[in-house]
């Protein structure tokens, strides 16, 4: 049994809880049923542990509807981490060969192209334009979304770091960090990617590794050590780097107010809440307008842990709700600090809300260009 007594007790408690966290579960929001909920998932696993009922194909589907956003944990006084429990059970599902087909396709894509988007590995750094040498050498681990789907974030990050006096390097040997696989239970293949990346990262002469993707950040700082793989240099999220150099950041007035979306991986999973906020407020010279659900109570964008791959319409429904919450603040700009969140939120934002990732927002200030003429 993959669940020891302590976890089995937690699962048992969650399975029969009077649904104290369900109101914030994004998949409950999307489906409006008690099945895709934290206690629903716990009940499936609890029944399996007690031997009263096996998990069938529909059960697997429900386990794969979890975004692993951990919003439920914010409302859980006994602190039952259902996202981690789901991920543990997903690992078994993968080893049983019962993973949903859509994720098998994703794994094949990563195997063949080293990214989940089935884009050629050779084109990974097509966006790259390095200009500066000298200064602190930072290795930018781009992440697949910035490299292939949000190239502006990648190029803006490089330009920004160079403008702050750093020398930026990018590796042609960067592969998917493994996050999409690890979060969906394919720890074995995740480990292969981790070993490859660790070798490449440790061989680099850079002083620090910089990431813009919180999924990469979590994997590099939490999952790789769990695999007993050690990086020989620190990993920093771009929001931390910018906050460290806050006095050197450009300042410009933005036309309209700014709200901020906390990425689940950066916020709830890695406890980074203040750094991006400090950066935004410094750069814009104005206080953020917070959404009602913010920081550890922030709603997920809907993009995580395979949901967008398997259930795109539900993922978009969650993204649209998060955009609605942002618009309720009256803000003109929605800034996030995650290329994957940005990608989802922008796809649902319409014309009246400009969605930016943090480096894009800072660079916009540097260029003195307003969003409406950008």
């Amino acid at each position: 049994m993959i669940f020891d007594d302590s976890l089995a007790t937690q699962i048992r408690m969650c399975a029969a809880c009077p649904k104290m966290c369900r109101h914030v579960c994004p998949t409950f929001f999307a489906w409006r049923s008690d099945a895709p909920t934290p206690h629903g998932r716990a009940l499936l696993i609890h029944q399996e542990i007690t031997g009263s009922r096996e998990i069938d194909e529909r059960g697997i589907e429900i386990l794969y509807q979890c975004l692993e956003c951990s919003h439920c944990l914010t409302f859980c006084i006994p602190e039952i981490d259902i996202a981690t429990i789901v991920e543990l059970r997903r690992k078994e599902i993968v080893s049983e060969g019962r993973r949903p087909e859509g994720l098998n396709d994703m794994a094949k894509a990563i195997e063949k192209y080293h990214n989940p988007y089935s884009e050629l590995h050779e084109s990974r750094n097509d966006w790259l334009e390095l200009k500066k040498s000298g200064g602190k050498n930072l290795l930018y681990f781009t992440g697949c979304t910035a490299a292939y789907r949000e190239k502006e974030i990648a190029s803006d990050t490089v330009e920004l770091l160079e403008s702050l006096g750093h020398e930026v390097s990018i590796s042609s040997e960067e592969w998917c960090c493994g996050s999409p696989l690890i979060r969906t239970g394919d720890a074995e293949f995740g480990l292969e990617l981790a070993q490859h990346n660790i070798e490449m990262l440790n061989a680099s002469e850079a002083e620090e590794i910089i990431v813009t993707c919180p999924g990469c950040y979590r994997v590099l700082t939490r999952d790789y050590p769990d695999y007993d793989l050690k990086l020989n240099k620190p990993v920093k999220h771009i929001s931390q780097v910018l906050e460290e150099q806050i006095d050197n950041l450009p300042v410009d007035k933005f036309e309209g107010s700014i709200t901020f979306h906390d990425s689940c991986h950066l916020g709830r999973h890695c406890d980074i809440y203040d750094e991006p906020r400090k950066v935004i407020e410094k750069v814009s010279g104005a206080p953020l307008v917070e959404m009602e659900r913010t920081r550890d109570n922030a709603m997920c964008c809907g993009n995580g842990a395979g949901l967008r791959t398997l259930f795109p319409e539900k993922a978009k429904k969650i993204g649209a709700e998060r955009v609605r919450q942002a618009k309720n603040t009256g803000a003109n700009f929605l800034v996030t600090s995650c290329p994957f969140c940005k990608n989802m939120l922008k796809s649902q934002s319409g014309e009246d809300l400009t969605v930016l990732d943090l480096p894009e927002m800072v660079l916009m200030a540097k260029r003195g260009r307003k969003a409406n003429i950008d």
Partner: protein, 477 residues
């Protein structure tokens, strides 16, 4: 459980799909398992023990009153049980499909219509969650005044179907006081409107026929609810008393001079020790009274001063705001499972009775004695207090070595607790409802008036399809 034959099941499924679409009907066993239970402590204990609960044959998720109507026409035609499901947060097993059939789940009906600022009302669909509604009206400066512990999980349809009450009910009232208009779909598919008016004199109040009907007469699909301005302040005060009697006398006399606190909770010595002794110093064996006052500062000054004098006159010791405020700030915490309350075959529940002041203390002592006879821990608090009486939360907790003994003890505590309550002139529920827990006691509780309920049921639901086995009606062999 009555099993549907495969031909009827297919016919039913096809007809439901034609109404709501394939995405919103499920026959999958996993969905039926995960949607089966509400928050009845016996269901929760059985789940923990690895037992399986009775399942519906299918679940349907309508999006409108019209769809509810069409579903009921089909169910009535095929004579299939229909169990309405709100948030699935009830504590009495009211949504368990004990005879199979269709669980009609209202969670997709989540419209909040525009607030009527002039009349201070809001119209909503039945599936709107309590927390979502409260947050929405808060944005406009209002409160619903309805704050049950289940607020995050329960919805408007469930509130009304169970005659629910919140912790501020002394001031704002229960859901039957807060519901001005109602839309109900009858088993024959008729969509019935009870107009939203503050009072009327046009025969019996038909809204009240459906408020608390627990799905046995029809399905509540929309309601118009009252709103209150968010009070300028909520002020807290706490007193300990040497015994239940003196504390109750203080409460009775506060209401007697028409002071209406929002919060009035008197914890008996056992419950006070459990809830407060870890955090506050007070004499062992004493009770703790929590008071809350909602309003403007000047009015709260007046009310609080008068209440303080009454509490002192009846032997109360002042503990300031801290115990009451702490309870308010942590009021949801006790509802979470803990290792202690969920280990082995542990099971606890609350018999939330209500009585007038002349009987209340006798009911308390009689119930406590009857329940403790089964070797269970009993602790109680008086809350939801009014001018003429109030409620007691008779809480019990039992831990037994095996499932059979645990479930049997649970039932005996209920049987004897309710019998003692009725013998002393109390009423067996203030706000939780009847569901399955109390179904078999309903006839004794209502006495001669039970025949009225039975006759109404026979007229409105002649085929007995609506939530059979609940509210003492439609029990099948």
């Amino acid at each position: 459980m009555l099993l549907l034959d495969s031909k009827t099941k297919k016919k039913l499924y096809d007809r439901l799909v034609s109404i709501v679409g394939e995405e919103h009907v499920t026959q999958q066993e996993t969905d039926r398992v995960l949607n089966a239970h509400d928050c009845w402590p016996l269901s929760e204990a059985k789940i923990r023990a690895g037992e399986l609960l009775p399942l519906a044959d299918m679940i349907v998720f309508p999006a409108s009153s019209e769809e509810v109507s069409q579903i009921l026409i089909v169910a009535n035609d095929l004579e299939i049980p229909v169990i309405p499901v709100g948030g699935g947060a009830g504590t009495c097993g009211g949504t368990l499909a004990i005879y199979g059939g269709i669980q009609l789940d209202l969670k997709r009906m989540v419209k909040i219509f525009e607030i009527d600022h002039e009349s201070m009302t809001v119209k909503v669909e039945a599936g709107v969650m309590g927390i979502d509604l409260e947050e929405e009206v808060n944005r406009h400066g209002y409160t619903m005044g309805h704050t049950p512990t289940s607020l995050r999980a329960s919805n408007v349809g469930g509130f009304i179907a169970t005659r629910s009450g919140g912790s501020l009910s002394s001031l704002y009232g229960k859901i039957e006081d807060l519901t001005l208009g109602l839309q109900v779909v009858l088993p024959n598919g008729s969509i019935v409107e009870c107009k939203s008016v503050p009072r009327h004199s046009v025969g019996p109040d038909l809204r009240q026929l459906f408020i608390g009907s627990e799905g046995v007469l029809g399905i509540i699909t929309e309601a118009t609810l009252r709103l209150f301005l968010i009070p300028e302040e909520r002020r807290f005060r706490s007193f300990s008393f040497p015994d239940v009697h003196s504390g109750l006398e203080a409460i009775r006399n506060i209401f007697r001079i028409e002071i209406t606190p929002s919060i009035v909770r008197l914890y008996d010595p056992e419950d006070a020790a459990m809830a407060f002794s870890m955090h506050f110093e007070f004499e062992e064996g004493h009770c703790m009274l929590l008071l809350g006052f909602d309003g403007d500062v000047a009015q709260n000054d007046i009310d609080e001063n008068k209440a303080v004098k009454i509490c002192s006159d009846y032997g109360g010791t002042d503990h300031g705001e801290a115990p009451a405020k702490r309870w308010w700030d942590h009021r949801y915490n006790m509802y979470y499972p803990s290792r202690l309350t969920t280990s082995g075959f542990a099971i606890g529940d609350t018999i939330d009775i209500v009585a007038t002041y002349d009987k209340l203390e006798n009911v308390y002592h009689a119930m406590k004695e009857a329940m403790e006879a089964h070797d269970v821990v009993v602790m109680s608090h008086f809350s939801h207090m009014y001018q003429n009486g109030g409620s007691i939360y008779m809480i019990f907790f039992s831990s037994q070595p095996d499932a059979e003994t645990a479930w049997a003890t649970y039932r005996k505590v209920w049987d004897d607790g309710v019998a003692a309550c009725l013998r002393e002139g109390g009423t067996m529920s203030h706000q939780h409802g009847v569901g399955l827990t109390r179904s078999t006691y309903t006839e004794d509780e209502l006495g001669s008036s039970f025949q009225v309920l039975k006759l109404i049921k026979e007229v409105l639901d002649p085929k007995g399809i609506m939530n059979p086995g609940k509210l003492g009606l439609g029990v099948r062999k």
